[in-house]
């Protein structure tokens, strides 16, 4: 008999820029909210996993130290954009294995401004100009446009969609709609990507309390699967950002590997998913994620956009939170921010962002490593 893991509480510190607030302050805020909602205090949870890439040594300990909640094992986890989701996966595994009954998971970040400098790259590679992250995004976008018959207009439509959703999210950094003309008129960063097509690295925190589910309870949100995968070698344009690669047409990307495992573990397929939060680091990344996650077939993105299927009110909304394009991306917090959004959606408390009748939600991140995560939540 498999162990059901329920989401007992959620908490979020808004994503944005907060002068004078430390990453610890933001972590404390999200953790306090999640524990309060779960009704869990000192002694009520047996471990904590903290996802962060930039917060430094023992970042999670500083948060729980500030709350007088240390003594339990606290583990900081770095997995690039998937850091928060990786923390969630480890926590869920510990509960399913019978090691713990209740585990706190949180993620937080205070990102440097500008193009993100990453210790991932050797200094010579930065010096030679071969560590330009937006240029990688641009090459990936160019390939998607070429192979799927999409245009920069379609990229703009994704931005317009997500920014329209973000208007209704009090935790988003950008809450103003943009028009396609504004997107296509914004500064060209790396052709074909323009400024408004790229998400902003920023600051924020999110927290989730996981608990072994006892008995049955209508309306309970449970974790159907939480999967983390890395890349297979081969793709020169994959998030592993190698200096060379080979023909990758038959090599599944890490997002697809994670999605396949997650669907199998949850016992569902893509058609069973009602609402999606996916990695939209740039507008093309979202469109690529649709096919990698099996939400549409290769080259079908245009017809999905035309039908409005991915917009609120459509067949299966994607990024009702506004996505990273509206929220910004605090690496360690972004994956758990998606989970917080999906829990609100499945509880039916998402207000103007609500996807009517949502019972199954999927969250996806992919980034440096490469790391890809897919998390599936269901409401009973």
């Amino acid at each position: 008999m498999s162990v059901d893991v329920e989401i007992a509480g959620i908490g979020i510190h808004p994503f944005g820029r907060f002068e004078g607030r430390t990453v610890t302050d933001m972590g404390v805020s999200a953790v306090r909210a999640a524990l309060a909602e779960a009704g869990v205090g000192r002694g009520g949870f047996q471990a904590a996993f903290c996802g962060t890439a930039y917060a430094g040594v023992a970042a999670g300990h500083k948060v729980l130290g500030a709350l007088a909640l240390t003594g339990i094992p606290i583990v900081d986890i770095e997995a690039g954009c998937a850091s928060g989701a990786a923390a969630l996966q480890l926590a869920a595994g510990a509960i399913r294995a019978g090691q713990h009954d209740c585990v706190l998971v949180f993620g937080m970040e205070k990102m440097p401004k500008g193009i993100i400098r990453s210790s991932f790259f050797e200094p010579w590679r930065e010096e030679a100009g071969l560590a330009a992250t937006p240029a990688y995004f641009a090459l990936r976008a160019q390939r998607l446009l070429r192979e799927s018959g999409l245009t920069p207009d379609d990229l703009a439509r994704v931005v317009v969609k997500n920014r329209r959703h973000g208007v209704h999210n009090p935790n988003a950094m950008f809450r103003k709609e943009v028009t396609a003309e504004e997107v296509l008129g914004s500064r060209l960063v790396c052709d074909p990507l323009r400024l408004f097509m790229l998400c902003s690295p920023n600051e924020g925190a999110a927290a989730v309390v996981l608990r072994r589910a006892a008995g049955s309870s209508a309306g309970r949100v449970t974790l159907a699967s939480a999967v983390l995968r890395s890349h297979l070698p081969g793709s020169v344009l994959g998030e592993a950002t190698p200096l060379s690669g080979i023909d990758d047409s038959a090599i599944p990307p890490p997002s697809t590997l994670a999605a396949r495992d997650a669907y199998e573990e949850a016992g569902i397929g893509p058609d069973d998913v009602d609402v999606v939060e996916c990695q939209d680091t740039d507008a093309a990344r979202e469109l690529l994620a649709w096919e990698e996650l099996g939400l549409c077939a290769r080259g079908e993105q245009r017809s999905v956009l035309d039908a409005g299927d991915a917009a609120l009110g459509g067949r299966r909304p994607v990024n009702p939170s506004g996505g990273l394009l509206s929220k910004g991306e605090p690496l360690g917090a972004s994956g758990l921010g998606q989970v917080v959004e999906l829990v609100e959606q499945l509880r039916g408390i998402a207000g103007p962002r609500q996807v009517e009748g949502a019972r199954t939600g999927l969250a996806h991140t992919v980034g440096r490593g490469a790391n890809a995560s897919v998390t599936i939540l269901t409401r009973s």
Partner: protein, 133 residues
């Protein structure tokens, strides 16, 4: 340190040769895939039976964009071209491209050249590789 600094130096040792220009890679004796930069273990099959080779200096353009803002740690001038070139060995290489060019198209034949990236504080010219039409 030598009192007389070398007049030129590669941005990193072991990436390319200047005469004739060529990227330095490896070929796997087991799966036959090529790799760049050189590796002691084949990145595709894990074999440690790899042979050093100089890779072809000509290839075809598979992707291109322009970097207009200097990324962190970058030593050269902006704007510069950035793209993917496929070599006859079947290897797709991330590379700098010669000054952004309106002629860039998918499949365009391009050729490797060794170019100055910037001057170091001691006056040494730091060199790197790029592909040009």
């Amino acid at each position: 340190m030598n009192d007389l600094p070398a007049s030129t130096r590669p941005v990193h040792e072991g990436l390319f040769q200047s005469d004739p220009p060529g990227l330095l890679g490896t070929r796997c004796d087991d799966c036959s895939q090529h790799a760049f930069p050189r590796a002691t273990t084949c990145p595709y099959c894990g074999s440690e039976r790899v042979t050093d080779v100089a890779l072809s200096a000509s290839g075809t353009l598979r992707g291109w964009t322009t970097v207009t803002t200097a990324p962190p740690g970058y030593g050269g001038a902006v704007p510069y071209g950035f793209g993917i070139v496929e070599l006859p060995e079947g290897l797709r290489v991330i590379t700098r491209l010669a000054t952004p060019d309106q002629r860039f198209t998918y499949g365009l034949p391009v050729r490797l050249q060794i170019v100055a990236l910037h001057d170091a504080e001691d006056g040494t010219t730091i060199e790197t590789w790029e592909f040009a039409p």
